[in-house]
């Protein structure tokens, strides 16, 4: 075996440049796959994380009749005395945050422009607001007793040409079916790095939002964060509030979960296409090698080498090319992935609007050990398969015919 590998290595060494470029082809293919997998992983992993932190939480407790799409504000669709319910939810072990939120549809109007927004009434003191608080770009965060201040997202403020301290008019639908309008001061401008969220979410203190929409002491949901995503089912089992239902992050982010599953499926085909193209280089190299070394194959069979041993030499060469390609691929791919992990891949989110999905303005690559091992194995196997045909070709040569070949 060692002798066979030695022979294979020396055979590859005869034409170092050709062997290098063959291995490089596989290496570039692997690097491309690693990059694609890490971008995909980064994109969807981040999308789910963002959706949970910014929008859905791990769980939401809602009235069974609440319709999220309609952003219903009817009293019967809302949670009554939400602070008390939230306190009850927060007493369960894995729950780190449980806070009431009130959602309403509205319009922000300036002197020149207006834009549709989603108004979210929040408890400004809740830890669930950390992503917005940490992303403050201008002004100040809300306080519970603020009666005329609101927070705007960075991209919405840019679109409307607003800065902290500016006055805007906000119109909302109300619980009794009317529309109300009030003037507010832009208390602060936040950025989550997610234009899809920042571009249409306006925050008000919960008490103000309740008064403004006439929901009184009610909220749309109890927004719940857990200390571990895997605890979701356990909390559902422990938390049963009559008249209310619990909605999981998977249900609220169904589109992201399904899109991720779909992407993972079709990416396998993409991977195979990329590897298939690179594998033709290996096939070509090895077929050339078989024809160049026909007489040697004759010599080896003349001294008693069996067909499968001849085949093994050529497969060993393909295996070594695969190893070389994998080393190059991990180096090139590792460098590219490291760059995108650190600096991210800019994404034109303004033109990338998919309802229900949140993407950061940049995708940060995330390469998992599982993806690295899977793609490396895939590259190795495809390279070996590519070397199979030339190896069979070599092993089927008749010694007499092979010995007659020109050197």
């Amino acid at each position: 075996m060692i002798q066979m590998l030695k022979l294979a290595l020396r055979n590859l060494g005869r034409n170092r440049r050709r062997s290098f470029f063959s291995a490089l082809a596989m290496g570039v293919a692997l690097a491309l796959l690693l990059m694609m997998a890490s971008i995909l992983q980064g994109e969807y992993g981040d999308a789910i994380d963002l959706a949970i932190r910014l929008q859905s939480g791990h769980l939401q407790l809602r009235s069974a009749s609440y319709d999220e799409v309609k952003t219903s504000l009817k009293w019967e669709d809302l949670i009554e005395d939400p602070d008390q319910v939230a306190a009850q939810v927060a007493s369960i072990g894995p729950v780190t945050v449980a806070t009431p939120r009130l959602y309403a549809s509205g319009f922000v109007t300036t002197r020149d422009e207006s834009d549709g927004v989603r108004v979210v009434g929040i408890d400004p003191l809740s830890a669930a607001n950390e992503p917005y608080r940490e992303g403050m770009r201008e002004g100040e965060f809300l306080t519970p007793d603020d009666r005329d201040g609101l927070l705007l997202g960075w991209s919405l403020a840019n679109r409307l040409g607003l800065s902290a301290g500016d006055q805007v008019n906000l119109s909302v639908n109300t619980s009794d079916g009317d529309v109300d309008e009030q003037s507010f001061t832009v208390r602060g401008i936040y950025s989550t790095g997610t234009s899809g969220f920042d571009g249409f979410t306006v925050f008000l203190p919960l008490a103000k939002a309740q008064a403004f929409t006439r929901a009184e002491n009610r909220a749309s949901t109890i927004f719940i964060l857990l200390n571990d995503t895997s605890q979701t089912e356990a909390v559902i089992a422990a938390l049963q509030v009559p008249g209310y239902e619990l909605v999981t992050w998977q249900e609220m982010n169904e589109l992201i979960v399904q899109t991720e599953d779909l992407s993972s499926s079709y990416m396998v085909f993409f991977y195979l296409i990329v590897l298939g193209i690179a594998a033709t280089v290996i096939v070509n190299t090895q077929i050339m090698s078989v024809y160049e070394r026909t007489r040697e194959i004759g010599i080896l069979t003349a001294v008693g080498m069996r067909a499968r041993q001849v085949m093994a030499i050529f497969l060993a060469e393909s295996g070594l090319l695969a190893v070389g390609g994998i080393v190059l691929g991990l180096l090139i791919g590792g460098a590219v992935v490291a760059y995108f992990t650190r600096f991210g891949l800019p994404l034109n989110v303004e033109n990338f609007g998919i309802t229900g999905m949140l993407f950061r303005d940049k995708i940060y690559a995330l390469l998992t050990v599982e993806d690295t091992v899977r793609l490396t194995l895939m590259t190795f196997i495809v390279t070996l398969l590519a070397g199979l045909y030339p190896a069979v070709l070599a092993s089927r040569m008749e010694p007499v015919t092979a010995l007659r070949a020109e050197k």
Binding site: G304, M305, A307, E398, L403
Partner: protein, 231 residues
């Protein structure tokens, strides 16, 4: 003792619709320890007969026996096994693997026969000394002269202690001094080890080394005579 025997052997090559009769019914017996030359003009069937004796090819009809065993209908792997254990080859071109050293070229049949590292070292050292290349084991073929390469090929042919060594025009690509050296090496090894040599040649400078000369013409044995070999 009979080392090789062919009985009424024919070999027909078909290229498209054209058939070429390389051998037309050859009968020949090679005894142990012989040093036999196959001679004849080009196309007389010398190489074809060597290939059949060497289990590199199968006859169209007739039977070939090696050490008493009928090898005419063996499959490819069975013929490879027979070659590995019983037959050594020396070719007209210096048939060494260019990426391997002289030592490693000789080692190849020993590896295929499953000899241990110690056995291989002892055998290869002995063979390199026997062909006068004791100090060239680490040399690659392109670092050796044609004569030296052919002597490495002789050592490789002897490595597995075969009962029969077949040489196809072993001096054809060598100048006279190197050709003589190769023939003298083969003659000496034949005498020292008793291994049987059958070589094809049309080189008049080397025919006189043979103790038996079989002349082929048009695919048939035209003459078979025992001669007084060169001392």
């Amino acid at each position: 003792m009979e080392v090789a025997k062919v009985e009424d052997v024919t070999r027909v090559y078909a290229i498209g619709k054209v058939e070429t009769h390389a051998l037309r019914g050859v009968n020949l017996t090679i005894e142990s320890g012989e040093f036999t030359a196959l001679v004849g003009p080009s196309g007389s069937g010398k190489t074809t007969l060597l290939q059949l004796l060497g289990c590199l090819d199968r006859p169209t009809s007739g039977r070939v026996f090696i050490s008493g065993k009928d090898v005419s209908q063996l499959n490819r792997d069975q013929r490879a096994d027979m070659r590995r254990g019983t037959i050594g080859f020396i070719f007209q071109f210096f048939a060494l693997i260019p990426t391997l050293t002289a030592y490693e070229n000789i080692e190849m049949p020993l590896l295929l026969n499953g000899h241990s590292a110690g056995e291989r070292l002892a055998r290869i050292t002995e063979l390199l000394e026997a062909v006068g290349l004791g100090d060239r084991g680490a040399s690659r073929p392109d670092q050796l002269s044609g004569g030296q390469q052919q002597r490495v090929a002789i050592a490789r042919a002897l490595a597995s202690k075969p009962s029969l060594i077949l040489a196809d025009e072993p001096t054809a690509n060598l100048d006279t001094p190197n050709g003589q050296q190769v023939m003298e090496t083969m003659t000496r090894l034949n005498k020292d080890t008793g291994v049987t040599f059958v070589f094809a040649t049309h080189d008049p400078r080397v025919i006189h080394y043979a103790r038996r000369v079989v002349t082929l013409r048009d695919g048939l044995v035209a003459e078979d005579k025992v001669v007084a070999a060169k001392a």
